[in-house]
Amino acid sequence: MPVDNTTESTPSIGRPTLPGPDAPLAIQVENLRKSFRIPTQRVDSLKERAVRPFAPRTYRELQALDGVSFEIRRGEFFGIVGRNGSGKSTLLKLLASIYRADGGSIRIAGRLAPFIELGVGFNHELTARQNVVLNGVMMGLTPKEMRRRLDSVIEFAELGEFADLKLKNYSSGMLVRLAFAVMLEADADILLIDEVLAVGDASFQQKCADAFHEMKEVGKTIVLVTHDMSTVESYCHRATLISDGKIQHIGDPAEVGREYLRLNFEGGTSARVTSANADIRLLDIWIESVGAERVRNIESGQYLRIRAQVELLRETPAIQVGFTITNVDGVGVFQFGTDSDEDAGGLTPGSRVSIDAEIDNLLAPGRYFVHFGVKRFPDNRAVVLHVEKALDFHVFGAAPSQGLVELPHTIKTAVENQGPR
């Protein structure tokens, strides 16, 4: 066991660097599985059970986490992102020992303080002081220790005059502030945080942000679950994307953020392959802006380039590709494609074709979808692939627009005849 590789020995200003691969592990998760049994018919009284003791009890199995493995090193700020129902909250609750896993293992080094679903779990009949001490003990401190820290908790939460008020009389903002303060003051080695940065007023948010930076600097391990990509990108060293109970991506926060956005726009609801046979498959489709950067938001009038890559699975003389751009209401705005007489001279299976389309961005600000189609050419011009909503993007501009496009125009006014005053 490597002993005390202190990250706090480097009082760096600004963003501390990612702990190296030799830093000791803080969390190790191996092949974690968790499923929930949802009874199709809920029996929630003993009477029912007694009346029909042999009634079949059927369950629907919901696989919330399916073989999740990852490691977090000490001092790391780790983000977990995923859509609703992806399993990220289940993962957090498993880490916090609130749920029990069905399989796999979780190993944790040190004490862990959870902050789940906007609060650490308070008893609303008790005062703030009592709750703070109780919570501290739940997180593993002694009552004496927690009483000593009580004042700084109350102070951080800015609740001085309300400390002896029962929590049922608190506003939700006050509750969250108190909960956050308790979590900070519990002085755990690992903090688990679920969707909290959006609470409180601006000054408290700033305070939280400062606290985060401070924790990061002293080398605390922080696991943050959020929807907010900018948070992940500005705080996290590494992040993981969870979807359908599996890890989709793990690594650089910016990359995870992009994957997440893609999943949000394309996954499930949007992109639909409406027509396909085994001849061809779409590998990738994206939009580039200036500097060959993949983007989803383009400023009105800015350079717009749609790129795609397809792979042929069967010998094909030539293909013809086309794009259709529709607005958010499904109204066609523009359609274009390659010429029908284009002849690539026969394409063998496995060959990849990249498509590079540049358009003058005359689109009015709004949201647009790109639909993608491929025909085989010349034999029968069959549509071999059609992907609806293959891509979506936003055009943003300073002024809102009524129309679909912004045509190049000139407009002048001239006063012809000044009327009498």
């Binding site: 929930f36 609060g119 739940m138 002085d187």
Partner: protein
């Protein structure tokens, strides 16, 4: 404080459990939760403690009147009023501790779903809060007992033993009920009915022995109830050394066996079911 390297070895985390997390933390939490709850009830209102005493005293007043003046069950028993008062106070503890336990886990939902701690603390703290209350009530009862002219004997020292048995039984039932209620919501209603039946199934209103039943079979039946055994021994130890002891009333030690089996069975069942359900309680809520 905890950032010494020794604490920071990777340890397997197995999820929530009835007892996990180390004994120190368990007892810290148990104590803190009971004391806070006790304070909340007794210092939260102006009359505080008086309210909690009012209920058993009212019941005592009414029952004393009914059973000495109207039904005349206890009119020729010299110690009937003190027996009745002690019985009511003890039974009130048992009843309140168990019925409050029923909903304890569910009403602490916020804590259960968001933090990790030994789950068994919840019902135990509820019963312990009841025990604090009982302790205060017993002071009043003992003042009354002495005023009535009962002479203290060395057997008073055995009274805590009886209290421990009663506490254990209440705690075991509290554990089982609290965790069953998470799944079966009619447990609450069933238990209210059950405690009423048990009240009459325990010799509180009526005495055993020479002023009691003419038919010994009833006494033997009552002796199946572990509460009967406890209450009868309390009567002998604290108030009437001459009253029939539990084995006497049952007609021999052997007849105490069913009560003992039920007592042990309840304790084992309570601990077993709580332990089994505790890891999943947060999911069921």
């Amino acid at each position: 404080m905890s950032t010494s390297a020794a604490n920071l070895k990777l340890r397997e985390v197995r999820g929530p459990s009835a007892l996990g997390g180390g004994p120190r933390r368990f007892f810290d939490l148990l104590w803190l939760m009971s004391v806070t709850e006790f304070k909340r009830v007794y210092f939260g209102t102006v009359l505080g403690y008086l309210w909690s005493l009012a209920r058993p005293l009212m019941l005592f007043g009414v029952l004393l009147f009914v059973f000495t003046k109207i039904f005349r069950v206890g009119h020729n028993l010299p110690y009937y009023p003190v027996l009745l008062l002690l019985g009511i106070v003890l039974y009130t503890f048992f009843q309140e501790a168990t019925t409050t336990s029923v909903t304890s886990v569910v009403s602490q939902e916020g804590v259960v779903r968001k933090t990790q701690f030994p789950r068994m603390v919840i019902p135990l703290a509820t019963v312990l809060t009841g025990a604090f209350n009982l302790g205060l009530n017993l002071i009043v009862v003992f003042v009354f007992i002495l005023a009535w002219g009962v002479v203290p004997t060395w057997t008073w020292l055995l009274f805590p033993f009886a209290l421990t048995l009663l506490f254990t039984l209440a705690a075991a039932l509290g554990m089982a009920l609290s965790v069953l209620y998470v799944r079966f919501r009619d447990v609450a209603i069933i238990w209210i009915v059950a405690t009423q039946v048990l009240f009459y199934g325990t010799p509180i209103l009526y005495p055993l022995g020479k002023h009691g039943f003419e038919n010994r079979t009833y006494e033997r039946l009552l002796m199946i109830n572990p509460l009967t055994v406890i209450f009868e021994q309390v009567r002998v130890w604290v108030i009437e050394p001459g009253a029939p002891t539990a084995p006497d009333a049952a007609g021999g030690w052997l007849w105490l066996l069913p009560a003992a089996v039920i007592f042990v069975g309840t304790c084992v069942f309570g601990a077993w079911i709580f332990n089994r359900e505790a890891p999943r309680v947060a999911e069921e809520l």
